[in-house]
C-alpha cells in the first residue's frame, strides 16, 4: 500500500517537473489574487481627493491639518493629492480624481467672526459608494474640527467596544485570503491530478491493478499536500508584507485548522476530478468554491451585522450555518491575540463530516464509473 502511494507521488512529481506550467499557474492564482486584493482594499480605508484652498489663517491651517490627519487603524482616511487650487481644479475637471473640496476665501474670516461657512464638496458620482465615502470623511473632519471650537454645544460620543481594539480590515481579510489560497491550491491540484488520469487515458492501467484506487487517492493527496504547503509558504510572507498580517502569532492550532481546510479542498478536488474526468471545468469551479468560501464564510462575522432582509440575509444565514466561518473566526481571534480559543469541537465535527461526505461521494462515483468503463 505504502509503496503504491509513493509510486503515485513520485510519478506525479516527475510529471510536474516535466510540464511545470500548470503547477506554476495554480500556485500563482492565489498569489496574484492576494496582490489584487491588497491593491483594492485600500479603497475602503483611504480615498484620494484634491483640495482647493482659498483661505488663509490659523483656522484654515488647523482644518487642513485635520484633513491630513484623520485616519482609522488602517491608515489615513484621505489621500490628499494636492492642496494647490489650480492643480486641484485641473485634476478634477480632467477626470483624474473623483472629489474636490473647496475651502472658500471667507472660511477664516467667518470663523473669526462667528459666522457660518459652507465648504463645497464636488464629487464625480459614478459610484454611490465613493460619494458616500467622501461625504462621511469630510463630516468626520468637520466633527473633529468642531471638537475644540465650541465645547459647550458640542455633542460627544462615549464608546464601549466589544473587542479591545479594531482589527484592521486588511488583517481581517488576510485570514480569509489564507483559507482561500489553501482551499484553491489543494482543490485544483488534487482535482487536476485525478482528472488527468482519465484525460490522458491512463486511469485504466491503475484501476486494474490489485491495489485498487485507494493508494491512487492518497497518493494524489500527498502530492497536492506538497504543492499546497509550498504555496502557503509563499503566501504567508506576502500577507505579512502587503497586508500586515501578524504571521508570528500563528499557533499549532492554526496550523491544524489550515490542515483541515487542506483536507476539505483536496476531498472536493477528488470529487471534482472523478465527476468531470476533465481538467477543463475543474479550475473555474474550484475558483468559484474557494471564492465563495472567502466571501461568504470568511466575511461571515462582518456580514452578520448588516444582513437584514433580502439576498444578503440568506447568504449570511448560509455562511453562519457553515462550519468554515466559525473556524475562520477562531483562527482570526487567535492571530489577533484576542483570546486563545481551544478547538471548536462542534465546527470541527461538522467540517470532518463534510470532508467525509465529499470523499464518500467520490468513492461511490469511482466505483460506479468502473463498471461502465467501455472499450472505445
Amino acid at each position: 500500500m505504502f509503496s503504491a502511494i509513493l509510486a503515485i507521488v513520485r510519478k506525479d512529481l516527475l510529471l510536474v517537473i516535466r510540464k511545470p506550467m500548470f503547477s506554476i499557474i495554480s500556485l500563482l492564482v492565489p498569489l496574484i489574487f492576494i496582490i489584487f486584493y491588497a491593491l483594492v482594499i485600500h479603497t475602503s480605508s483611504t480615498n484620494p481627493i484634491v483640495i482647493a484652498n482659498h483661505s488663509e489663517g490659523p483656522y484654515t491651517d488647523r482644518f487642513v491639518d485635520i484633513l491630513q490627519e484623520i485616519k482609522s487603524v488602517e491608515g489615513s482616511y484621505l489621500e490628499i493629492i494636492t492642496l494647490d487650487s489650480e492643480l486641484a481644479y485641473e485634476k478634477y475637471n480632467s477626470g483624474q480624481v473623483d472629489a474636490l473640496l473647496e475651502i472658500p476665501e471667507s472660511f477664516e474670516e467667518n470663523l473669526s467672526s462667528g459666522k457660518q461657512t459652507a465648504l463645497k464638496l464636488n464629487v464625480f458620482n459614478i459610484n454611490s459608494d465613493g460619494t458616500k465615502n467622501f461625504q462621511l470623511r469630510i463630516d468626520h473632519a468637520l466633527y473633529e474640527f468642531h471638537k475644540n471650537l465650541d465645547e459647550n454645544s458640542f455633542i460627544t460620543i462615549d464608546e464601549e467596544m466589544t473587542f479591545s481594539k479594531d482589527t484592521p480590515m486588511k488583517s481581517y481579510v488576510s485570514t480569509g485570503l489564507l483559507i482561500f489560497s489553501v482551499l484553491l491550491t489543494s482543490m485544483i491540484s488534487t482535482g487536476t491530478l485525478m482528472a488527468r488520469e482519465w484525460e490522458e487515458r491512463t486511469a485504466k492501467s491503475i484501476v486494474l491493478t490489485p491495489k485498487g484506487f485507494l493508494p491512487l487517492i492518497i497518493g494524489k493527496w500527498m502530492t497536492a499536500f506538497l504543492v499546497t504547503a509550498l504555496s502557503t509558504v509563499l503566501i504567508l510572507p506576502l500577507l505579512y508584507i502587503l497586508l500586515g498580517y501578524p504571521i508570528g502569532q500563528i499557533s499549532t492550532l492554526v496550523w491544524f485548522y489550515l490542515f483541515l481546510f487542506f483536507l476539505y479542498g483536496s476531498a472536493a478536488g477528488v470529487l471534482l476530478g472523478v465527476l468531470f474526468k476533465k481538467t477543463l471545468p475543474i479550475v473555474p469551479i474550484s475558483v468559484v468554491i474557494a471564492m465563495s468560501e472567502f466571501l461568504v464564510s470568511s466575511l461571515e462575522s462582518y456580514i452578520r451585522g448588516f444582513a437584514y432582509g433580502g439576498m444578503t440575509e440568506w447568504v449570511w444565514r448560509l455562511g453562519s450555518w457553515w462550519p468554515s466561518s466559525e473556524i475562520i473566526d477562531t483562527i482570526r481571534f487567535t492571530v489577533e491575540g484576542f483570546e486563545q480559543i481551544a478547538i471548536n469541537w462542534e465546527a470541527f465535527f461538522y467540517m470532518a463530516l463534510w470532508i467525509a461526505l465529499l470523499l464518500s461521494l467520490a468513492l461511490i462515483k469511482l466505483n460506479k464509473q468502473l463498471s461502465f468503463t467501455q472499450g472505445q
Partner: protein, 321 residues
C-alpha cells in the same frame, strides 16, 4: 474447495452470461447475450467481432470491471468481480488506449507501474530489463513515450502487462493502427508467451490476426456469440471448396456452363466458372468431362474458404456504424 479438474482445464469459463445495461429502463441495452466461453490454460484465445460487438465488454467481464446480469463467470476458479484483487494479481490487461504516460520515458512508465503494483523492489530493475528485452525496446527505454510510434506504444504496454508475471494476458486490440513490421513482432511475442504457458485472450477485428494466432476463435456479433472453434473448424463449417475454371473467352464459359449447370453447383461470371465441390471424385469427373475444352481453357485453380468468408457468413455483409 471447488473441484479441481475443471479448474485446471479451463482457466476462464463463462456460462450463459447476459449483461444488460440500464435494466428495466427505457434505455435498456443488451450488451451481451448468452455468452459461453471456455478457455484452456496456455491457449491463445481470440475474440473476433465487428466494432461495438461486445469484445471489450467481454474483456471487462473477465477482469472483473463488469458483472454479468445473469449467468456465471469463473476466472482461475474465482468470481472475478467478487475476488477482483486476487484475480487481478494473476491477469494483466493491455487496454486499447495503451494507458501510458506520454511525458514519462518508457522505463519510467514501467518503473511506476511496477512500484504501484507492488513488485518486489529487488526484482524491479531486472524484470524491467527483461520485459523491455521481450518487446525489443531496450534501445528506446530512456525516450519519452510521447515520441513513440503507435506500434512501439503497444509493445511497451505489452511489456507493462508482463511486468507482473501474469498467468492470463488480456490484449484488447493489440495491433490496432500498427504497421506490418510491428504487427509481426507483436504476433511473434504473443506466440512466444503462449509457448511458455501463458494464456492469452485477445480481441481483434482483423481476420488475419485471428487466423494467424487464434487456437480457439469465438465470433461475436451484437453481443451474441455466433460461432466458435479453431480457425480450421470454422472454415470447414461453412466450408465449400471451390474449383475455379478460367476460359479464354466469355462465350466458352457460357457454353460450358449451359452444359454442366444441371449436374453441378456452379455459377458463371464472365470468362470464369465457379464450381462448389468438396468431394475429390466429383472433381475428377468434372475434369474428365471438361477435357475436350482444354484448348479454350486458361487455367484451373482451387480456393479454400478463409476466415473472412466465415466472418461475413456469420455476421452478414451489412455495413456497421
Amino acid at each position: 474447495m471447488i473441484s479441481k479438474p475443471t479448474q485446471e482445464e479451463f482457466v476462464v469459463e463463462i456460462n450463459k452470461a447476459d449483461l444488460i445495461f440500464n435494466k428495466n429502463n427505457k434505455k435498456e441495452f443488451k450488451a451481451l447475450e448468452a455468452l459461453d466461453m471456455k478457455i484452456k490454460s496456455g491457449q491463445i484465445f481470440c475474440l473476433l467481432g465487428p466494432n461495438g460487438s461486445g469484445k471489450t465488454t467481454t474483456i471487462n467481464l473477465i477482469n472483473g470491471l463488469l458483472e454479468p446480469t445473469s449467468g456465471d463467470i469463473t476466472v482461475l476458479g474465482m468470481n472475478p468481480s467478487k475476488s477482483r484483487k486476487t484475480v487481478l494479481q494473476k491477469i494483466s490487461l493491455v487496454p486499447q488506449e495503451t494507458a501510458l504516460y506520454n511525458d514519462l520515458t518508457a522505463r519510467e512508465n514501467l518503473l511506476f507501474h511496477a512500484r504501484y503494483y507492488g513488485v518486489n523492489r529487488k526484482f524491479i530493475s531486472k524484470r524491467i530489463d527483461n520485459v523491455l528485452g521481450i518487446v525489443q525496446l531496450e534501445n528506446r527505454q530512456n525516450d519519452r513515450v510521447g515520441t513513440f510510434s503507435g506500434g512501439m506504444q503497444r509493445r511497451l504496454a505489452l511489456a507493462r502487462a508482463l511486468l507482473t508475471e501474469p498467468e492470463i494476458l488480456l490484449l484488447d486490440e493489440p495491433t490496432l493502427g500498427v504497421d506490418v513490421q510491428s504487427r509481426n513482432a507483436i504476433w511473434e511475442q504473443i506466440r512466444t508467451l503462449a509457448s511458455v504457458g501463458k494464456t492469452v485472450i485477445l480481441t481483434t477485428n482483423y481476420m488475419e490476426e485471428a487466423e494467424e494466432l487464434g487456437e480457439q476463435v469465438l465470433i461475436i456479433d451484437k453481443g451474441k456469440p455466433v460461432a466458435s472453434g479453431s480457425p480450421n473448424e470454422l472454415k470447414r463449417h461453412i466450408g465449400q471448396k471451390q474449383m475455379i475454371i478460367h476460359f479464354n473467352e466469355t462465350k466458352y464459359a457460357k457454353q460450358v456452363y449451359d452444359e454442366i449447370a444441371e449436374d453441378y453447383e456452379v455459377t458463371c461470371t464472365r470468362n470464369q466458372l465457379n464450381v462448389n465441390t468438396n468431394a475429390l471424385n466429383v472433381q475428377f469427373q468434372l475434369l474428365e468431362q471438361l477435357s475436350k475444352y482444354e484448348e479454350y481453357m486458361n487455367h484451373i485453380e482451387y480456393s479454400e474458404p478463409n476466415l473472412q468468408d466465415v466472418f461475413l457468413h456469420f455476421t452478414g455483409k451489412a455495413l456497421r456504424d
